[in-house]
């Protein structure tokens, strides 16, 4: 299932979304926006650019879920810095407690420590030539690699999302099996539940977006600023919401500096992954990649300014050193392999011109011919994200050349000159012929001297 939902009634077909999509997963077809489920990575770019708020992150009904008894809520770290003043995070957890949600964040924060440890070990155990490893924390990045850089799949670090590990840990430790709801900051995290990678089924039964919950809590008068801090003792996991936080956590676990590149935003990611493919990133050990600017707190389904949440996170007083007991507990957990993907990460099928190479070659020639006749301004008004994508779709037999307004105008121009030409071709009639049976208006008929 997709991480986004289009509200067709609100859509004005302005084509901004289809042009913004980094994987060209969107089209406007027969008057409606269509999203290719296989190509959407859940980056949320379309949601950011839509002026009509016609695209939303897919979520379940908060109104219904609130009333469900025995429901557990697990929030992405970015949730906890959505409110509060500088230097203080309001204890949103306590607001949730009052609504009757149980707090299992101890298990989740342990899972983040465990993930950092497992990643550190994988980096240390890897041959130098096969570094850097790539973070799998951002589900949008993971999917982008499966889709556009399948060559790099063996560079992905084999550690599951700590949010999933945390619920596994809680289930094993308590033997409980109630439904768990994920509070997600973006469509990709929503897809963690509906379209999991590296495991058959997600631990999460429902997804609600962070903005929805925060607005609801505030509208009910939650006085989040005045509540005491509850995460002072272990805020390490919260730092994963900020770019660089994961690297910091891994380095703290290693007890040595980690040579890591932190890249956020689609353009940086594409450049970085291309450089890695060309083997240019020697001596780098880890790539912390995040689809959103600033990291998860820049997610499209958060409610607070990403700049404010950044300030709050930076002002947290984080204790990066584990106590001896914490460390021993962690090593015991590490031995259970709870942190591993249970299934291999597989490449997603590329969208080629045809499954048959011979046919694809013929279509590529056709596509080049068609592309040469298109205007090349990528206006999107044909419903395809670019002239190039339109030529590819046409070569596949999808769409009409006259969906291009330039081509349509050419056709009309051709047609009107043809009409003009046809109009000039009058049949000969007694009126058009002269009195003596000769064509009128031929110049010399008026002055016939013979």
């Amino acid at each position: 299932m997709l991480g986004i939902e289009v509200r067709h009634g609100a859509c004005k077909r302005c084509v901004k979304c289809i042009r913004s999509c980094p994987t060209q997963a969107m089209r406007i077809y027969q008057g409606a926006v269509r999203v290719d489920t296989e190509l959407c990575v859940g980056c949320g770019e379309c949601i950011r650019v839509c002026p009509w708020k016609a695209i939303e992150v897919r979520q379940d009904s908060w109104v219904a879920l609130r009333k469900t008894p025995n429901l557990l809520l697990t929030a992405d770290p970015s949730f906890y810095v959505q409110t509060g003043s500088c230097g203080r995070t309001g204890s949103l957890q306590e607001s949730l407690d009052r609504l009757g949600f149980e707090d299992i964040s101890d298990y989740i924060s342990t899972a983040y420590d465990l993930a950092a440890l497992a990643i550190a070990r994988q980096i240390n155990e890897r041959r130098k030539d096969d570094l850097p490893l790539i973070s799998t924390y951002c589900p949008a990045v993971l999917r982008l690699i499966q889709l556009s850089h399948p060559e790099l799949i063996d560079r992905l670090v084999g550690v599951e999302s700590p949010l999933e590990i945390g619920v596994d840990h809680w289930r094993r430790a308590t033997g409980r099996a109630e439904s768990v709801v994920l509070l997600a900051p973006c469509p990709a995290m929503s897809m963690l539940q509906s379209l999991p990678a590296g495991r058959a089924k997600s631990n999460f039964d429902h997804v609600i977006i962070i903005r929805q919950v925060i607005r609801n809590l505030i509208s009910e008068g939650a006085t989040v600023n005045e509540l005491p801090l509850s995460f002072e003792r272990n805020g390490r996991w919260l730092m994963w919401a900020l770019h660089g936080g994961e690297t910091r956590h891994i380095a703290a676990t290693m007890g040595r500096p980690l040579t890591s590149i932190v890249a956020t935003g689609i353009r940086n990611l594409q450049d970085l992954l291309n450089e890695l493919e060309l083997g240019r990133l020697g001596c780098v050990e880890y790539l912390e990649c995040r689809m959103c600017d600033q990291g998860c707190l820049g997610g499209v389904a958060t409610s607070e300014s990403r700049f404010m949440s950044l300030v709050r996170l930076q002002n947290l007083n984080i204790n990066w050193t584990l106590t001896r007991e914490e460390r021993e507990r962690l090593l015991a957990l590490y031995a259970t392999d709870i942190w591993r993907f249970s299934e291999p990460i597989r490449p997603l099928k590329q969208k080629s011109l045809s499954d048959d190479i011979q046919q694809a070659m013929a279509r590529l020639r056709k596509m080049n011919e068609l592309y040469a006749t298109l205007p090349g301004i990528d206006c999107g008004s044909c419903g395809h994200p670019s002239c190039h994508a339109m030529a590819a779709d046409l070569a596949r037999g999808e769409g009409e050349m006259t969906n291009c307004i330039f081509k349509l105008k050419e056709r009309i121009t051709d047609l009107s000159s043809r009409i003009f030409e046809l109009c000039a071709r009058n049949p000969e009639t007694p009126m058009s012929l002269g009195r003596h049976g000769r064509a009128a208006g031929t110049g010399d008929s008026e002055h016939d001297d013979r």
Partner: protein
């Protein structure tokens, strides 16, 4: 036998900073054609290294892509100084790149060995003072699973 898919790319010697453009185009074409990802990975490395050689040593030149369902062929042709000792040039770490090129992080002497490692057959013809022609082939073996 159906005709192969052919494409030509001009590589300008002054394009040291936009190097990799021909290689990127070759990769995009192979993706559109549905070539298996492992073959694309190897072909991209071959194309990139060959393009580098054109710029660094060949004084620019031309690249050719020829795709058949069973193999991908990448050629790089230049009219540069040529390679006096091909065997030596194939050795890892051997490079004749200028100081300026090395300062920019290129010319580590890994280009040709890298091309050899990633191709199924490699042909290198060179004449001093006339130029160099490199032809590398990567065989397409159908993937075990989608």
């Amino acid at each position: 036998m159906a005709s192969p898919y052919l494409e030509n790319f001009v590589v300008d010697e002054n394009e040291l900073f936009s190097i990799g453009e021909a290689a990127a185009q070759i990769k995009a074409i192979l993706k559109m054609l549905g070539i298996p990802s492992d073959v694309i990975r190897r072909a991209s490395i071959v194309a990139y290294e060959a393009e580098m050689n054109l710029v660094i040593h060949g004084g620019g030149g031309r690249m050719e892509l020829e795709v058949r369902p069973e193999r991908v062929k990448i050629s790089a042709l230049d009219a540069g100084p040529g390679i006096p000792d091909i065997e030596k040039a194939m050795m890892e770490g051997f490079s004749t790149a200028s100081e300026k090129i090395r300062e920019m992080g290129f010319g580590a002497g890994m280009g040709l060995p890298n091309i050899k490692r990633n191709s199924d057959s490699l042909e290198l013809l060179s004449e001093v003072g006339k130029g160099t022609t490199l032809r590398a082939e990567i065989l397409v073996k159908q993937e075990r699973e989608g």
